[in-house]
Amino acid sequence: MTKEPDIQNSLIKKFGFLEGKIRIPRERRIFADAAPENFATIIEYAMKDLSFTMLCTITGLDEGATLGFLYHLAREDGIMLSIKLNIDKNNPVIKTITGYFPGADIYERELMDLLGAKVEGLPEGRRYPLSDDWPVGDYPLRKDWKKQEGANNA
């Protein structure tokens, strides 16, 4: 376990504000807390200079007052860097990362449908994965979401 602290140090060297916000809970896993304003530059740096060239997935979380977004990046030697964003639930605006990872498109649409995130810069497209007749403004993975009475027999 020598590469992980190196990655941590180079991230802190480049982005001073990440000091104390990077955790290495175990081998090959690195977690970093980012803010929306510096998020894109961190992704770009991780991708271009630290060779985190793969986006595994994006996790969306409902954490009460905020929505959490975890971007799991991976390297070919198996080290994963999870960059976390916390955004206000009332106005959950994030920027698209499809400029860096075109495959993020489908994950971001999922965040829009299931958690109600607003993704800036994502081109228009069909909704995914909910059905076409799903009501607007209804986000089933939010904790306060309730199934509509009489919507079906369940």
Binding site: P129, L130, S131, D132, D133, W134, P140, W145, K147, N152, N153, A154
Partner: protein, 150 residues
Amino acid sequence: MGLVEKVVTWARIKSPWIIHFNTGACNACDIEIVAALTPRYDIERFGIQLKGTPRHADVLVCSGPVTKQIKCRLKRIYDQMPEPKFVVAVGTCSCSGGVFDGCYSVESGIDKVIPVSAYIPGCPASPKAIIDGVVKLLASLEKKEEKNKK
């Protein structure tokens, strides 16, 4: 019953054509349906043939719970089939919704959307159970025909 009708009923019982439709299954039941159709279990010995279009089919074989997205498509497929038509629900999910019942994107079992003639439970339903269910459906049709004769 006219002669033509008699021949048609006879042909229907001796050789029902089926269409297989996945309404949101996890694919386990689909694999079992394919196993039932192919030579290992060979459901074709009852004259059953898989068809590529609902317009040629007498029996609609559904697997999986009905998702909200597939609901209107299922109705459309059902409407495209010529009368008389029968629906077989394969697997616990298509019988009642199973573990997916109450999920935000799932409607429920097949019978909430279209009428079902035979239910085959199981997770997944084994090919033996599928054959048993299909044979029971055919036997019930045969009985109906005998009643009509009398």
